[in-house]
Symmetry: C2
Subunit: 287 residues, 2 copies
């Protein structure tokens, strides 16, 4: 396939790297507003050629991977839209789906098949310099097909994603995507940011941390240009998850205030049961 990566940042760069490492039959091109990134990627052999304007390369693309911030996606698709080849396959990497799909689908010519997707992998660091194909290896990929999508194209895209290293490609509805990602990813980021920001900076906490605190704050190296948008677009589900979390936090707080060790024990046994389920462990492995 002739593949165009539209937006050669961290995720776009990781796609280019993974394709280069895992396949030989694809020709990879890129469009980006940053000439230096394009030159750099050409020199490193990640792409055959980079372009500033869609008109020069989009007409040849069999697959376009839009890997830009959600805020920019709409205008980039609009800019590319006049040049899509009949039968072109399009995809994105955005962390929310309902809003994006509602915004993008009306812009598409009939002959373009946009299958929206979300790689469950990424680095907190921005930019091509931090791209890595490793993060894709054995990671999950979520596709959110709509009525517009052709079954054959979903299969084709899934096969391509497996080829470049992803393990499980799941197809789920856009609403379920936003609900579950609101929990596993967005709520986790809300909690981590709140935790590190509640630190008393006069305490010099870093001399007294063990693995727990470092684990819980790893994702606070957060991209503030991306996440507020994602939170706002998924507000209903995210607020719902925050409330569910707060309810559990209050249960634990009440038990501590009441010296209720038994109630805490029940919560901890349940948490441990869920931990073992998450990691496919047998409770008997443990004690």
């Amino acid at each position: 396939m002739k593949i165009v990566i539209a937006g050669l940042g961290n995720i776009g760069g990781s796609f280019a790297l993974a394709i280069k490492e895992k396949s030989t039959e694809h020709e990879v091109y890129a469009i980006d507003i940053n000439r230096d990134s394009l030159k750099d990627a050409e020199k490193r052999g990640l792409i055959r050629k980079g372009y500033i304007t869609p008109a020069e390369i989009i007409p040849e693309a069999d697959l376009v991977i839009f890997s830009v911030y959600p805020m920019i996606l709409k205008s980039l698709v609009e800019a590319c839209s006049p040049y899509f080849k009949e039968g072109v396959l399009l995809t994105d990497v955005t962390g929310v789906k309902r809003n994006i799909i509602n915004e993008i689908e009306p812009l598409l010519p009939e002959g373009a098949d946009f299958i929206f997707g979300h790689p469950m992998a990424g680095r907190e660091n921005r930019g091509l310099a931090f791209s890595s194909s490793d993060v894709f290896q054995s990671a999950n990929y979520l596709l959110t097909p709509t009525e517009r999508n052709k079954e054959d194209n979903i299969k084709k895209l899934s096969a391509f994603l497996k080829q470049i290293g992803f393990k499980n490609i799941s197809s789920i509805t856009p609403d379920f995507h936003d609900e579950v990602i609101g929990f596993t990813s967005q709520l986790a980021h809300v909690i981590a940011v709140s935790l590190i920001n509640s630190d008393d900076t006069n305490r010099n906490t870093k001399s007294y941390t063990g693995d727990s605190y470092r684990d819980l704050t790893r994702i606070t190296n957060i991209n503030e240009k991306l996440w507020p948008e994602l939170f706002i677009m998924n507000k209903d589900h995210l607020i719902n998850h925050i409330n569910g979390f707060k309810k559990e936090l209050d249960r634990m707080t009440d038990a501590i205030e009441d010296d209720n060790a038994e109630s805490m024990q029940e919560m901890m046994i349940e948490a441990r049961r869920r931990y073992h389920e998450l990691h496919n462990l047998d409770m008997s492995d443990w004690d």
Copy 2:
């Protein structure tokens, strides 16, 4: 030194392993109520000999490392107390300090020097079978000396801890210990348990997790026989930290509800600054 490990569970076993690997001049013995653990440790060469009753070995000990649950510590020290040799050095591994010190110090004969301590390392798994000397390597160790302790003994204990692999040995007050551990360790466990227990188990979340959720819930493989005790003994500091965390969580929730991207951005930039400080990174390394 003749060292007696009193309580050959996970942490006690890790001490035995670390001493075996890192030194040759110490003789290590253990007391435990579990004959099988003692036999196993003897077979594996972790200890010279194990005993069920303190009377048989405590009189010979130069150093006793009490590595039992806080609830059991007091009665174990009482049982050992008649047999302490003049000048014996004692230490513990308990995760809270004020209560423990107040409980234990009045029981001690004058010739016994108990320096309370806390290795910032451990496994969620219980028992000797999960012991490992690796967890101690380059980990932090907190000592909380009191007026009873002799300066020479603090130096001697610190040197021993460095010898078996710990990196930074800090001396802090018992109250500061409980305040900072309430934040870095206890609050982290409260949050992780609350997060995993707020999961909707009908969702089959594990198919949709990335690294974030796995990181934030790693410590939910929690020992429910230990942690409720620790939370209750450190209630004042822990509740204070939970409230500080909730305040930050509410700030973020309000910003999401108000579509206030700017306010979220400020919180995220602050979180990122703190992340970089925690990991000794320069912000300019990043973007």
